[in-house]
C-alpha cells in the first residue's frame, strides 16, 4: 500500500479531511444561526424532560423543573462551546494542509513542521480549555435545572491525556524539523 504521493492513503485522507472541513464550516455557520434564533426568539429549553448521556449509558429524567433561561448567560455558554469548536477547526485546517503536502511531495518541509507544532499546541489548549468550559456549562445547567431527588453537581476534571498528547505531537514536530533539515541538506547535494 502506498502511503505518500499521488493515489495514496494520504491523498484519500486529504479528500476525507476536505469533506470534514467543509461540513464543519457548515456546522459552525448553522450553530451561529441557531444561537441567533434562540437569542432573538424564545430561548426556552424543552421542559419536563432531561437526558444525560455517558458512554454506554443514558439517564432520562422526567418531571424536570427548569428556571427561566437568561439570554446573556445562554449566549456565554454558546461562546464557550464555540471556542472549543474553533480549536477543533484549527486542527482540522492544519491536518488538511499537511495531508495535501503528503499527497503532493516530501513530508519533511518547514511548513509541515510549523503545522504539526500548531496541532500540538492546539491539543494542549483544548485539553486545558475543555474542562473549564464543561465545568462552567455544568454550573450553568445545575443552576437552571432542578430534579426532584437528584442533585446535579458541576465537576472539573483536568484532561491530562490531552496535555500529554499535545506534548508528544510537539516533540514529533521537532523530529520532523530535524527531518526537514536533513532533507534540505540532501536537496543541496549534487
Amino acid at each position: 500500500m502506498k502511503y505518500l504521493g499521488e493515489k495514496s492513503a494520504s491523498s484519500v485522507m486529504k479528500v476525507v479531511l476536505d469533506v470534514a472541513w467543509y461540513l464543519a464550516l457548515v456546522g459552525a455557520v448553522l450553530l451561529v444561526l441557531f444561537m441567533a434564533y434562540w437569542l432573538v426568539g424564545d430561548p426556552a429549553l424543552p421542559t419536563g424532560l432531561l437526558q444525560i448521556e455517558t458512554p454506554g449509558l443514558a439517564f432520562r429524567f422526567t418531571g424536570v423543573i427548569q428556571e427561566p433561561v437568561l439570554r446573556t448567560k445562554f449566549a456565554l455558554q454558546f461562546i464557550l462551546i464555540y471556542l472549543l469548536l474553533a480549536v477543533g477547526l484549527l486542527v482540522l485546517f492544519q491536518l488538511r494542509k499537511i495531508f495535501a503536502n503528503l499527497a503532493g511531495r516530501t513530508p519533511f518541509t518547514k511548513e509541515n513542521v510549523r503545522r504539526i507544532r500548531i496541532i500540538g499546541i492546539a491539543a494542549i489548549v483544548y485539553a486545558l480549555l475543555s474542562p473549564v468550559v464543561y465545568c462552567l456549562m455544568g454550573l450553568y445547567l445545575s443552576n437552571i435545572i432542578h430534579l426532584p431527588g437528584v442533585e446535579l453537581i458541576a465537576s472539573f476534571r483536568l484532561d491530562l491525556g490531552g496535555i500529554f498528547l499535545g506534548a508528544v505531537i510537539i516533540i514529533l514536530a521537532e523530529v520532523f524539523n530535524y527531518g526537514a533539515r536533513l532533507q534540505e541538506e540532501q536537496d543541496l547535494t549534487v
Binding site: 541538506e185 543541496l188 547535494t189 549534487v190
Partner: protein, 76 residues
C-alpha cells in the same frame, strides 16, 4: 564560501556544453547548473568521480580553496 567551483573554466577548456555534460555525467541540468554557480552545499564523490572521468581532469581542477580574507584590527 572558500571553496570555488571551477567547472565553467574546465568546461570551456574541453568545449563541452552544460546539457551534454549533464547527460554524460547522469545528473540533471538543473543540478549541474547549481553546482556551476556554487549554489550547492555538498558534492557526492560519485558525482565528482563522474565529472573527472568525463572532463578528464582531477578534482583539484574543478575545486579550488581560497581562504576567506579577514581584515585585521587596523583594517589593512
Amino acid at each position: 564560501m572558500p571553496i570555488i567551483v571551477r567547472l565553467d573554466r574546465v568546461m570551456a577548456d574541453r568545449k563541452i556544453s552544460l546539457t551534454e555534460l549533464a547527460g554524460r555525467v547522469g545528473i540533471t541540468m538543473a543540478n549541474l547548473s547549481l553546482l556551476k554557480n556554487e549554489k550547492v552545499r555538498a558534492i557526492r564523490f560519485s558525482t565528482l568521480e563522474a565529472l573527472c572521468r568525463e572532463l578528464d581532469c582531477q578534482p583539484g581542477d574543478l575545486l579550488e580553496y581560497q581562504p576567506e580574507q579577514t581584515e585585521d584590527s587596523w583594517g589593512t
